[in-house]
C-alpha cells in the first residue's frame, strides 16, 4: 500500500554541523507534508510543513526540500544543537485525508 518511509533509522552529527534527514514517499497524490520532532515520552512537535506547489520552505534553522519528481522530502537543520536530539518523523496527507507517518529517524548530536 501507500507508505512514507525514511532512508536511515539513525543519524549522528557533531554539534554545530548541519543535519540532513531524508524521507521517501510513494503516494503521488500527497499534497501536504509535515516534519515532526518527537522527544522521548513527548508528543510529536510540529517543525515545518510544505505543500506540493512548493519545492523549498525555510524556517528558523530548518529547511524542508520537496522533490516531487522522485517523491523525496528532506529536512535540513543548520548548526545542529544538543537540543535537536530527538526522533524526526515525516508525514504526508493526500487531499485532506489522515496523516501517514513515516518511520522515524533518531538524530543524535555529539557535543
Amino acid at each position: 500500500g501507500e507508505s512514507v518511509g525514511l532512508h536511515l533509522p539513525t543519524l549522528s552529527v557533531q554539534e554545530g554541523d548541519n543535519s540532513i534527514i531524508n524521507c521517501a514517499y510513494s503516494n503521488s497524490a500527497s499534497d501536504y507534508f509535515i516534519w515532526y520532532k518527537q522527544e522521548s515520552g513527548k508528543g510529536p512537535q510540529f517543525i515545518i510543513d510544505i505543500r506540493s506547489n512548493m519545492d523549498k520552505r525555510q524556517g528558523q534553522r530548518v529547511t524542508v526540500l520537496l522533490n516531487k519528481t522522485v517523491k523525496h522530502l528532506s529536512l535540513q537543520i543548520a548548526a545542529t544543537q544538543p537540543g535537536d536530539s530527538a526522533v524526526y518523523f515525516c508525514a504526508e496527507t493526500p487531499l485532506n485525508t489522515p496523516l501517514v507517518f513515516g518511520k522515524g529517524t533518531r538524530l543524535s548530536v555529539i557535543a
Binding site: 513527548k42 508528543g43 510540529f46 489522515p98
Partner: protein, 112 residues
C-alpha cells in the same frame, strides 16, 4: 500559546478492563485526531472528528470508540483491554480537516 491537553498522562489498567482517555483541543480548533504509538513505532492513525462528526477512521479496533462533544473535546473509550493495547495515545487538533495538526503530550497506557 495554549496547546492540546490530554488526560490522564499515565494510566495503568488490568486486562479486560475499560479506559477513557480525554483530549482538549487548542481553542477554536474544530478537528481532533487520535493516534496510537507503540514502542519504537511511528504514530498510527485511529480516528478523527470534525465538528462533532466522525471524519475519518483508521486502524481503530472495534473494542474502541470515540466521540467529540459540543465543546470540541474528545474522548477515546477503550474496552476489553488487551496487553497489546499498551502504548502512547496521542490526540492532535487542527483548525479544519487537512490543516496542520498539533499534538498533545500523550497518555501512556499500560495494560497488565
Amino acid at each position: 500559546a495554549a496547546g492540546v491537553i490530554q488526560s490522564p498522562r499515565h494510566l495503568i489498567k488490568e486486562k479486560r478492563e475499560t479506559a477513557t482517555l480525554k483530549c482538549y483541543p487548542i481553542p477554536r480548533h474544530d478537528t481532533v485526531y487520535w493516534y496510537q504509538q507503540g514502542p519504537g513505532q511511528d504514530p498510527q492513525f485511529l480516528i478523527s472528528f470534525y465538528e462533532k462528526m466522525q471524519s475519518d477512521k483508521g486502524s481503530i479496533p472495534d473494542r474502541f470508540s470515540a466521540q467529540q462533544f459540543s465543546d470540541y473535546h474528545s474522548e477515546l473509550n477503550m474496552s476489553s483491554l488487551e496487553l497489546g493495547d499498551s502504548a502512547l495515545y496521542f490526540c492532535a487538533s487542527s483548525l479544519g480537516v487537512g490543516d496542520t495538526q498539533y499534538f498533545g503530550p500523550g497518555t501512556r497506557l499500560t495494560v497488565l
